[in-house]
Symmetry: none
Amino acid sequence: MPPATTPRTAADAIDAVRRFNRFYTRRIHILDEAHLRSDFSLAAVRVLYELAHRHAASAAELARELDLDAGYLSRILGDLGRRQLVTRQRADHDARVSRIRLTARGRARYAVLDSRASDDIAALLEPMGDTSQRRLVAAMEAITTLLDDGTTANDRPQNAAPYLLRTHRPGDLGWMVWRHGVLYSDEYGWDEHFEALVARIVSDFVANFDPAHERCWIAERDGENVGSVMAVRHPERPGVAKLRLLLVEPSARGLGIGRRLVDECIRFSRQTGYHTLTLWTNSVLVAARRIYEAAGFQLVHEAPHDEFGHDLIGQTWELSL
Amino acid sequence: MPPATTPRTAADAIDAVRRFNRFYTRRIHILDEAHLRSDFSLAAVRVLYELAHRHAASAAELARELDLDAGYLSRILGDLGRRQLVTRQRADHDARVSRIRLTARGRARYAVLDSRASDDIAALLEPMGDTSQRRLVAAMEAITTLLDDGTTANDRPQNAAPYLLRTHRPGDLGWMVWRHGVLYSDEYGWDEHFEALVARIVSDFVANFDPAHERCWIAERDGENVGSVMAVRHPERPGVAKLRLLLVEPSARGLGIGRRLVDECIRFSRQTGYHTLTLWTNSVLVAARRIYEAAGFQLVHEAPHDEFGHDLIGQTWELSL
DNA sequence: ACAATAAGGTTGACATTGTCATGTGTACGC
DNA sequence: GCGTACACATGACAATGTCAACCTTATTGT
């Protein structure tokens, strides 16, 4: 998984889309080959699919839905009818249109095709691992959602939030170390000591984990992690929670994710019974600072330090809950 | 389409993939229509594309790459040749194969097609907004990466050195935590305690780092990390080095990367003056075990443990240098 | 050196798939 | 009821894809 290259220009995005089209035209040929092992054409299979998933349909509906030529479709239906897989009868309300339905026979034939296709996909997914599968499915759903709007029916409600928060899963903690390391190196030139600090925090989190009083949130979009934060018990001060490892991927900034993560932390800390939420940050992180200020945090302490390979000013912020 | 749900069962994942296939077969028809406004067939356009993006090709290469019937392709090329868009000449090294190249004319014709296709995609993307565009591209890249490994990769010839080794850079240590967490969870069901252990190892590595006697290697392929290992001083036994965090991505297995990483470790340890190289692993990791055995490591200790949420047998292996 | 075999490419015959124009019957507004 | 639009069917045909036979050149094994 490459660090999801964000397109810099419109041309890059266009290329990426075209590259995907080429990739998927090749691929779809391979994926859709269930029909090759049957005596149905791809078009016929698609028709059968549509019929199996709606009670009855008119030819015009099918043609529109599948983008088939009316004449061509007529012939496909004729053939399916001859093989007694579908019935066609005049619609009551309009003698021009024909109600097309699958016969029991047709339904049975389709079931075979269907399970064969499922098996094919299962074979594709099987060696893949849960994490990858989830990512694949999420990415496919994202594409569908993003492209669907214009052309196909707008029958879907406005998908509410383009991201979701969840607690951590295997791999997430490592992801946090990785992305902190990469982004703070890229954006501020911090060295590996920062990455090591994050690794330490993460490992301590697991070592001392108290599910009732501590939590880690991951912001996920299209199956891809785009943000994180955790709330842990302050090691020395009872009743005080510590917010740590707030991060939002550059590609997902400006959506209010950082804000949302901090809010979630505050809500949790308050509800859990802490009286204070504290955090340590650095003066150079201005975007984060704004979030903390807006949430009501007060700057209580500042001190210069030179970890991470730079002269920095560390800050402690606190919020009374 | 429901708001990006994560699949609960394998069946859900299969359905999701099939849904996407159906969606994209419809969609690709619409996206790829640039060729409809030209006097080239889709297949011909694909051939032109391939030719435009490589210096020259043989018919067999094209047929393989585009999954076209040899006879069909021959005819397409014949037609393109007649229209003076490509030239075909015998290859020097093998009189059976023909070197096929685009002529200047062909290049010009392709450029028109190409820009038309770009315009189409641009029109698709234009109303979309930056964030959505980025999401779309990221999702497409994710799918390509996830699906590409298995099938298309096989077509790729064994290019000489498909990977390179280097020492670690910012982000690499976090990457190691992440991938260890994900892969051991996917493949063996290990829990976050393993991930935390890796994070601890990584953070200790940085805290005590002695560049002259310790090192971390990353295997990189196509700019992507695909493997790792590190050699560190044994904390208690002077003169003993420890090999840790050997990992190879599933997509890059079978290329001898694991072997190579271990060899590198041995070479380094020997050269640095250690007298022994030791490592801790688990009996379930059979692939790794084979590498250690082949490299001459001896099993010196075994003990059951139940970290990581499973009953496991830990093993210590050693090699005299 | 030579036969057997395989690979690259071409061609003819053919099947499948898709397109277009046209025709028939029906619905509907005026 | 007349004109127009729609649903569907059909004929004619073009485009696309498949298969097997064939020629030529390499490669392999003996």
